[in-house]
C-alpha cells in the first residue's frame, strides 16, 4: 500500500471517511451521493465495511439504503422546490420513431390508467408540403403557466426550480386548468383510478404524483422525486433512441443518460425552439427540429384509439 500521505489524501474526497470513520465519528456525509446527503438522517447504527485498501471503515447504516428509500418530502417542501435549479427538457424530434417506450415507462412509474397518458406522441404535419414527424409532448412546465394562473385553490403551483406540480389533496376538480392549457397535457381522473391497494393507501406526495385520486387532475411532473435525488425522469431513461434530454438550465447541461451536452450549445447548434412560443407561456421544453431524421416517418397505430391516424 502506498505510504505517501499526500497521495492518499488525493484518493479520498472532501475530508471524509478513513480518518473520520476510524475515529468513530458518526456525523459523516453519505458515501454514495453527496447532493442527497442533507435528506438522510443518520440512524446511529454503524456497519463495518471494507475499503479498497483493505481497511475497515464504519458507515452509518442509513447511508447504505438504496436512494429510492428516501422519505417523501413535506407538502411545503414539495411546493417550494429545489433552490438553485431550473429544470429543462430537450426533445430531439429527429430521433423519435414513436416507439412509445417513454409512455409505457411513465404510465408504469405513476400507475396510470390506460387512456390517461401523460406523454402523448403526436403525428404532426405542419402544412401540406412540410414533412411529417412524431412529436412527443409532456407538460411544458411553463414559466408563465396559464394553468397555475387560473387555479382557484392553489392546487397546481409553480416551484422555484421551474417544475409545475399538482396537489391532489387540494384539487377541487373544477378543470379550469385543463381548459386553460393550450398543450392539452392534463388528464382528469373521471372515475376511481385503478391502482394497486398498497399504492392507494400511501399518503399523496406532490413530487411522485401518486396515488392519483378520483375527481382530480394529473399531468407530467418531470418526475420531481427523481430529480430531487439527482436521477433522470423515467421517460428520459426509457427511450431507446435517446430522444429526451433532461437537465438543469442553470448548470447549462442536459443529458439523455448516455450523451451529455451543454444546453446552450445544443439549442444553438440544432436550432432548438419551443411549442406555441407566440402564446407567451414560456415553456421549459425545447424541441430540436426533425432534420437528418434517424427514421423515416411511418404510421404507427394510436396507442389507445382503434383507428390509425392518417397523415
Amino acid at each position: 500500500m502506498n505510504s505517501n500521505d499526500t497521495s492518499r489524501r488525493d484518493f479520498l474526497v472532501t475530508g471524509l471517511l478513513a480518518g473520520a470513520t476510524l475515529s468513530g465519528c458518526s456525523d459523516k456525509p453519505n458515501p454514495f451521493e453527496d447532493k442527497v446527503t442533507a435528506m438522510i438522517k443518520p440512524s446511529g447504527k454503524m456497519v463495518k465495511l471494507l475499503s479498497v485498501d483493505g481497511e475497515v471503515i464504519e458507515v452509518d447504516e442509513a447511508y447504505l439504503k438504496p436512494v429510492e428509500d428516501l422519505p417523501p418530502v413535506s407538502n411545503m417542501e414539495a411546493r417550494k422546490g429545489i433552490p438553485g435549479k431550473k429544470f429543462v427538457m430537450v426533445i430531439d424530434l429527429s430521433r423519435c420513431k414513436s416507439v412509445k417506450a417513454c409512455q409505457v415507462a411513465c404510465n408504469h412509474a405513476h400507475e396510470l390508467n390506460p387512456g390517461d397518458n401523460w406523454i402523448k406522441i403526436y403525428p404532426m404535419q405542419d402544412s401540406d408540403h412540410t414533412a411529417p414527424y412524431w412529436e412527443p409532448s409532456t407538460c411544458m412546465h411553463c414559466d408563465e403557466p396559464p394553468c397555475v394562473k387560473v387555479c382557484p385553490v392553489d392546487a397546481t403551483f409553480k416551484r422555484e426550480d421551474g417544475i409545475v406540480l399538482i396537489d391532489s389533496d387540494r384539487c377541487i376538480g373544477c378543470r379550469f386548468c385543463m381548459a386553460a392549457c393550450p398543450y392539452s397535457t392534463r388528464v382528469f381522473n373521471w372515475g376511481e383510478p385503478d391502482i394497486p391497494k398498497e399504492v392507494k393507501e400511501k399518503p399523496y406526495s406532490c413530487e411522485t404524483s401518486m396515488p392519483q385520486k378520483k375527481g382530480t387532475v394529473g399531468k407530467c411532473d418531470f418526475c420531481a422525486d427523481m430529480t430531487r435525488k439527482g436521477e433522470l425522469p423515467h421517460c428520459v431513461s426509457a427511450c431507446p433512441n435517446g430522444v429526451f434530454f433532461f437537465g438543469d438550465m442553470i448548470e447549462d447541461t442536459v443529458t439523455n443518460g448516455a450523451e451529455t451536452f451543454r444546453f446552450s450549445d445544443l439549442i444553438r447548434d440544432k436550432a432548438g425552439y419551443r411549442l406555441m412560443e407566440d402564446l407567451g407561456t414560456k415553456p421549459s421544453v425545447y424541441y430540436l427540429p426533425p432534420v437528418n431524421r434517424n427514421f423515416p416517418f411511418e404510421d404507427v397505430e394510436d396507442s389507445v384509439g382503434t383507428h390509425k391516424e392518417k397523415v
Partner: protein, 287 residues
C-alpha cells in the same frame, strides 16, 4: 360403486401430481449480471442485476434473493445477501468480514448466486476484479491528469491502455470536458485532458466537480474519482419564488389585483350592509 369412487379419486390425484410436475418444469431462465462499483474510493460494492424474458420482452425482475460470494460459492466466503428491488437491482457493500480474504491477493473473483425458485431456474455469474484506483490531479492552467494504478503485489503500478472518461459532474450525467469522448492511459497510466468548457456555470461560488471514470472495465469494474475545482462561473441564481404575479401562490397575488378586487368588493358590501341596517330600521319603526 365404491370401487369406482376410489379409482376416480386416485386418478384425479395422479393427474394433479403430473400436472404440478409439468407446471414446475416451466421455469423461466433468469439472467444475472454482476458489476463492481467503487465511487471515489469510498464504500465499494457489488451490484447484481436480473433479467428474464417476460411476454417476449426482457424485463428486470424484482424480489429475487441473491447471495454474494468472494472467490467461490461456499458458505465461508459468503459476503452477504440481498433482494432485488423493482429495477431488478441488488447492491451489497463489501463487508469488513471479507477483510482477510481481500488482503490475501490483488485480484479476486466475485460470484452472485440466485437459487432456484418457483418461477425461475437457478442462476449464477461471476466477475474478476483487480484492485485499482484513479488519482485525479488538476493544474491551474485547466489541465487535468488522471492516473490509473492497479495493485500488483505490494505496489500500485500504472495501467496502460485503459479508456477513461474525464468530465464535469452534472445532474443525471457527466459533461465531457472537451470534444474527446474518452482518454486512453499511456505507459505511465496517465490520461491528460484539457478543460475546454468556457463559462460553464458552477455552483454559487463557481465550483465544479471534475470526475474521472473507468466504466465497465473487465478487470477493474467501475471506478471513479472526483475533485472540486473553481473553474466555473457563478451560477447567479436569483429565486423568483416570492415575486408577485398572476401565477404565484395566493399570498403573492399582484398588488394591483388585490387593490382592485378588495376595493370593489368592499364598496359593494358596504352598500349591502347599509341596506340590512335600513331593514332593521324599518323593523324598529314598526315595533
Amino acid at each position: 360403486m365404491k370401487k369406482y369412487k376410489y379409482y376416480t379419486l386416485t386418478g384425479l390425484i395422479a393427474l394433479q401430481i403430473t400436472g404440478a410436475c409439468f407446471a414446475q418444469t416451466e421455469k423461466k431462465e433468469l439472467i444475472l449480471g454482476l458489476s463492481y462499483i467503487n465511487d471515489n474510493n469510498q464504500v465499494q460494492y457489488l451490484k447484481a442485476n436480473t433479467k428474464a424474458k417476460v411476454e417476449g420482452k426482457f424485463r428486470q425482475i424484482s424480489g429475487i434473493p441473491v447471495s454474494f460470494y468472494i472467490g467461490s460459492a461456499v458458505p465461508a466466503n459468503l459476503l452477504g445477501k440481498a433482494v432485488t428491488d423493482e429495477h431488478g437491482l441488488a447492491a451489497l457493500p463489501i463487508p469488513a468480514s471479507a477483510r482477510d480474504e481481500w488482503n490475501k491477493s490483488s485480484s479476486h473473483s466475485f460470484l452472485v448466486v440466485s437459487d432456484s425458485s418457483v418461477s425461475y431456474s437457478a442462476a449464477t455469474t461471476s466477475i474478476d476484479l483487480t484492485k485499482a484506483r484513479i488519482r485525479l490531479d488538476t493544474a491551474a492552467d485547466k489541465k487535468i491528469t488522471a492516473v490509473l494504478v492497479e495493485q500488483k503485489g505490494a505496489d500500485w503500478t500504472p495501467v496502460k491502455g485503459v479508456d477513461m472518461k474525464i468530465a464535469v459532474k452534472r445532474l443525471g450525467g457527466d459533461l465531457d470536458v472537451s470534444e474527446t469522448p474518452t482518454y486512453t492511459t499511456d505507459s505511465l497510466g496517465e490520461a491528460h485532458a484539457d478543460f475546454k468548457l468556457l463559462n460553464l456555470p458552477g455552483d454559487a461560488t463557481g465550483n465544479l466537480v471534475i470526475v474521472a471514470k473507468v466504466e465497465d472495465n473487465d478487470l477493474f469494474g467501475n471506478l471513479s474519482t472526483e475533485r472540486t475545482v473553481p473553474w466555473g462561473t457563478s451560477s447567479g441564481f436569483i429565486s423568483d419564488y416570492d415575486n408577485r404575479s398572476l401565477f404565484a401562490r395566493a399570498s403573492r397575488a399582484p398588488l394591483w389585483l388585490l387593490w382592485m378586487a378588495t376595493s370593489i368588493t368592499i364598496s359593494v358590501w358596504i352598500v349591502i350592509f347599509y341596506l340590512f341596517v335600513q331593514i332593521w330600521k324599518i323593523k324598529k319603526l314598526g315595533a
